[in-house]
C-alpha cells in the first residue's frame, strides 16, 4: 500500500463550511500531524456558505496521504475531501511579478507567454500577471532573469478534475 521513493506531489480537494475557525483548524491539523504542505488556497463556491479548499503537499506514502484526507473529513466543518488523480486534473496558479524590463524584454516575453502587463513605470519597472501551470510560471520568471526580478507573488494551486 505504501510506496517509498521520491515524495510525490499531491493535491487534495475539500469542500468546507465557510465558518469562523475552519482555516485555523486545518492549519493546526497540518502542524500537529506534521504534513509537508506546499500550498493552500480557499475560494467561494457557487453554493452560498460552502468554500472550496485546495491543498498540495509532497508525500511518498499513499497511506499517509490517505490519512490527511481522513483527518480532514473528521472535522465537522469538512463536507468532503479527496485526493485528486494527478493525471486527470488541472493544477493552475496565478503569479504577479514585478521586474525591471525594457521594451526588448517585454516583446520577447509577450512572444512566449500569455501574460498581461498590469502596470509600467519610468525606469522600466513593470508589473505583469501570468496564469498557468507551475512550470510555466517558473519558466516565465527564468525568462525575465533572476537579476531583474524585484518581487513575485504566487497564489498557490487551485485544481479541478476532468
Amino acid at each position: 500500500m505504501s510506496s517509498n521513493g521520491q515524495p510525490k506531489r499531491r493535491a487534495i480537494l475539500a469542500f468546507v463550511l465557510n465558518r469562523s475557525g475552519v482555516l485555523n483548524k486545518i492549519s493546526m491539523l497540518i502542524r500537529r500531524k506534521m504534513y509537508n504542505v506546499e500550498t493552500l488556497t480557499v475560494c467561494a463556491t457557487l453554493q452560498p456558505g460552502i468554500s472550496r479548499l485546495t491543498l498540495t503537499l509532497r508525500e511518498a506514502n499513499d497511506a499517509k496521504a490517505l490519512q490527511v484526507v481522513k483527518q480532514l473529513e473528521k472535522m465537522t466543518e469538512v463536507i468532503s475531501a479527496r485526493e485528486l488523480d494527478i493525471d486527470q486534473s488541472f493544477w493552475r496558479e496565478v503569479a504577479i511579478v514585478k521586474f525591471e524590463g525594457d521594451n526588448n524584454l517585454l516583446a520577447a516575453l509577450d512572444q512566449r507567454f500569455p501574460m498581461e502587463i498590469l502596470d509600467r513605470r519610468e525606469r522600466g519597472l513593470c508589473v505583469a500577471q501570468i496564469a498557468g501551470t507551475s512550470k510555466r510560471i517558473d519558466d516565465f520568471i527564468a525568462a525575465i532573469g533572476k537579476e531583474k526580478v524585484v518581487e513575485v507573488a504566487r497564489s498557490g494551486f487551485t485544481a479541478m478534475e476532468m
Partner: protein, 581 residues
C-alpha cells in the same frame, strides 16, 4: 424576557443533565446565579477546575453502559478557570469520553483587548476537542448546546467546549424567539456517522474468521461503551476465539472467562502478547492500535490478517493495515456476529494448546511472588494488595485507577467481573485523575462500591478534591499505594537509565493527618496479614475511607515490552532483568 443564562440551564435540563461540576468566577457568575435560583441540578463544587472536569468524565464513563447514559458537564470561568480545564479535556479526547465544558468568557465588547481574565479558550481547546463553540447571541445558545451534546455523544465520544461571553449570558432573546428541543435536528453536513455495517464487509469478515487457524479478538473501549460484552462472549464462545483486551477494553466481560487472555500490549500478559505474535487473524473491535498495544509497528503481528471494526473512519489503516475494514458501530457488528449462522465452531486444538503453554510460562513465578506478598525490606508488593482487593470484592466492585505501576498491576491482576467497572486515564495518562474521577463515577452509579486506587505521586496532584469528597459525603474507598517514588518512571530508570533516580523519589506529608483534616477515617497498613482485614474495614465503613499501604519501591511491573521494541522483545521474568543488568 428570557435571557441567555436561563437558556443555558433550560438546554441542560432538556438534555437530561443531573450533575454540574464546576468552579465559579467573574465571567460565569450569571449562569451560577441562575443555577442557584432554579435548583434544577445538583451542583458539585470541585476544589480545582481540573477536578471538576475529571468528575464530569466520571459521570460519562460510568453511565455510558447504563440505561440512562449521561454526559458529564463541567463549568468554569474565563481565563485561568478555563485553562485549568484543559488537561482533563485533552484527557477526555484521548480516551473518547463525551464531556461538555461550559466556560464564561469576557464580554464581547472587550474580547481581544487582553481584558482581565481573558484567554483565547476556543483557540486553545480547538485541537483538544471534537468541536468548539462561541455563541454570540442569546438566540443561539439553545441550538448550540443541543448540537454540542449531539456531537460529543454521537459516534466516537469526545469533549466539546461552549465558551459564552458574559454579556451573551445576560442578553435577552429577540422577540418571537422559539426553540423546540424535541424537534431539533443539528444541521451538520460534514459530520459523518455510519453505525450500520456493510453486509458485504461482514460476509468477508466471517469468511476470514472461519478460515483462520490462530485467530485472536482484540477487545477495545468501544465494546465496553456500547455494552457489547455479552454479544462478544456469545460470538467468541461459538467461534472459539481467544480474547485479548486493551486497557480500556477490560471489564467488557469477566476477565477470568476461559477464552480471556487478559490485557495485551506493553504490560500485557505473556499469553495475550504471545498469542498476538503468533496469530494468523486479528479481529480488532472498537480500538485504535495505540502504540502501547502494538509496540514497534514494523514487527507487529507479522503473520496476521486484520479485521478492524471501528466507528471512526480515520482510525482505519492509520497504524495497521486492514484486510477487512468495518466502519461501523461495534455493538451492531457484534450483534450480527453473535447471531450469524455462517460462523462455524472450530476446535482449534493446536492453537489453544499453544495458548495454554503461554499461560504456564510465568504463572509459577508470579504466584510465588504473590504468595510471598512482600519484596525488599518486607515492604508490600502491589500485586499482592490487588489480589487481596480482588478477593475481598470478588471482582465485582468498580475500580478507578490513577496512572502508573499500580494502574498496570490493577489491569493485570484485578479480577474484573462487572461490565464497565474499570475507569482510568489511558491515552493521556494523566496522573491525579483517579480521586476526582471516582467522585463522578460514584454519583453516576450510587448503588455500587467504588475504589479509587492511586500512588503517592498521583494522589498529591489532586488531593485538594478530598474537600469535595468531604463536603458532598462521597462514599469512595481510597487506596493509596505509597512507595515513596514515582514508581513507573523509577522502573524505567532501573531498567534503562542505570538506576539513576532523577526526580522520582518524593517526600510525602503524613497522609493520616491529611485524611483526619478532611474528616475521613484512615488506616495505615504495613504487613501482609493486615491487608485483607483493612480492605474489609473499608468495605464495612459507611462512607469514605482511606487506606495507605506502604509498598516496595523496587517492585517491577512485568511483562514489559521495552519502549520502541516489538512484542517479541517482551521481558517476561525478573530473571531476564538480572541477566541484562
Amino acid at each position: 424576557m428570557t435571557t441567555g443564562k436561563e437558556l443555558v440551564l433550560k438546554a441542560l435540563e432538556d438534555l437530561g443533565v443531573r450533575y454540574v461540576f464546576g468552579y465559579t468566577g467573574g465571567a460565569i457568575m450569571p449562569i451560577f446565579d441562575e443555577m442557584e435560583r432554579r435548583k434544577c441540578f445538583t451542583f458539585i463544587m470541585a476544589r480545582h477546575e481540573q477536578g471538576a472536569a475529571f468528575m464530569a468524565q466520571g459521570i460519562s464513563r460510568a453511565s455510558q453502559s447504563t440505561a440512562d447514559p449521561q454526559i458529564g458537564v463541567c463549568m468554569a470561568t474565563s481565563g485561568p478557570g478555563a485553562m485549568n480545564l484543559v488537561t482533563a479535556v485533552a484527557d477526555a479526547m484521548m480516551d473518547s469520553v463525551p464531556l461538555l465544558a461550559v466556560t464564561g468568557q469576557v464580554a464581547t465588547g472587550v474580547i481581544a483587548t487582553d481584558a482581565f481574565q481573558e484567554s483565547d479558550v476556543v483557540g486553545v481547546m480547538m485541537p483538544l476537542t471534537k468541536q468548539t463553540y462561541m455563541p454570540l447571541a442569546a438566540d443561539r445558545i439553545e441550538e448550540t448546546l443541543h448540537e454540542a451534546i449531539y456531537v460529543a455523544m454521537t459516534g466516537r465520544g469526545g469533549p466539546v467546549l461552549v465558551d459564552i461571553p458574559k454579556d451573551v449570558q445576560t442578553q435577552a432573546v429577540s422577540d418571537g424567539y422559539r426553540f423546540d428541543p424535541s424537534a431539533f435536528q443539528p444541521e451538520l453536513p460534514g459530520f459523518y456517522y455510519s453505525p450500520a455495517p456493510e453486509r458485504e464487509a461482514v460476509r468477508r469478515a466471517v469468511a476470514l474468521i472461519n478460515q483462520s487457524e490462530r485467530p485472536i479478538v482484540l477487545c477495545g473501549h468501544g465494546v465496553v461503551s456500547r455494552s457489547a460484552g455479552e454479544d462478544l462472549r456469545i460470538f467468541a464462545e461459538k467461534a472459539r476465539i481467544p480474547i485479548g483486551f486493551t486497557l480500556h477494553g477490560l471489564s467488557a466481560l469477566p476477565v477470568d472467562h476461559p477464552l480471556s487472555l487478559g490485557m495485551v500490549g506493553m504490560h500485557g500478559t505473556v499469553e495475550a502478547n504471545r498469542a498476538l505474535l503468533h496469530a494468523d487473524l486479528i479481529l480488532s473491535l472498537g480500538m485504535r492500535f495505540d502504540d502501547r498495544v502494538t509496540g514497534k509497528l514494523e514487527t507487529f503481528a507479522p503473520n496476521a490478517k486484520v479485521i478492524h471494526v471501528e466507528i471512526d473512519p480515520s482510525e482505519i489503516d492509520k497504524n495497521v493495515s486492514t484486510m477487512v475494514a468495518l466502519n461501523a458501530d461495534v455493538g451492531e457488528v457484534l450483534r450480527l456476529l453473535a447471531r450469524d449462522p455462517q460462523i462455524t465452531s472450530q476446535p482449534r486444538r493446536a492453537w489453544f494448546e499453544s495458548i495454554e503453554a503461554f499461560r504456564r510460562e510465568t504463572a509459577a513465578e508470579v504466584e510465588e511472588e504473590i504468595a510471598a506478598g512482600v519484596g525488599r525490606e518486607g515492604r508490600l508488593l502491589m500485586k499482592y494488595i490487588v489480589r487481596r482487593l480482588s478477593e475481598v470484592t470478588a471482582g465485582k466492585d468498580i475500580i478507578v485507577s490513577d496512572v502508573g505501576q499500580h494502574q498496570m498491576i490493577l489491569a493485570r491482576f484485578y479480577n474484573f467481573q462487572t461490565p464497565n467497572s474499570w475507569f482510568t486515564s489511558g491515552g493521556a495518562g494523566t496522573m491525579g485523575c483517579a480521586l476526582p474521577m471516582a467522585v463522578g463515577v460514584k454519583l453516576a452509579r450510587p448503588g455500587e462500591r467504588v475504589w479509587a486506587v492511586m500512588g503517592d505521586g498521583g494522589f498529591q496532584m489532586n488531593l485538594q478534591e478530598l474537600g469535595t469528597v468531604m463536603e458532598y459525603q462521597i462514599d469512595i474507598k481510597i487506596v493509596l499505594l505509597n512507595n515513596g517514588y514515582l514508581g513507573m518512571v523509577r522502573q524505567w530508570q532501573t531498567l534503562f537509565y542505570d538506576g539513576r533516580y532523577a526526580g522520582t523519589p518524593l517526600k510525602s506529608p503524613d497522609f493520616g493527618l491529611i485524611a483526619q483534616a478532611y474528616g475521613i477515617p484512615y488506616r495505615r497498613v504495613t504487613d501482609t496479614d493486615e491487608v485483607g482485614e483493612a480492605l474489609r474495614q473499608a468495605v464495612d465503613h459507611p462512607g469514605a475511607f482511606m487506606l495507605e499501604l506502604r509498598c516496595d519501591p523496587s517492585e517491577i511491573v512485568l511483562p514489559m515490552v521495552p519502549a520502541g521494541g516489538g512484542i517479541a522483545d517482551m521481558i517476561v521474568s525478573k530473571k531476564q532483568i538480572g541477566e541484562s543488568k
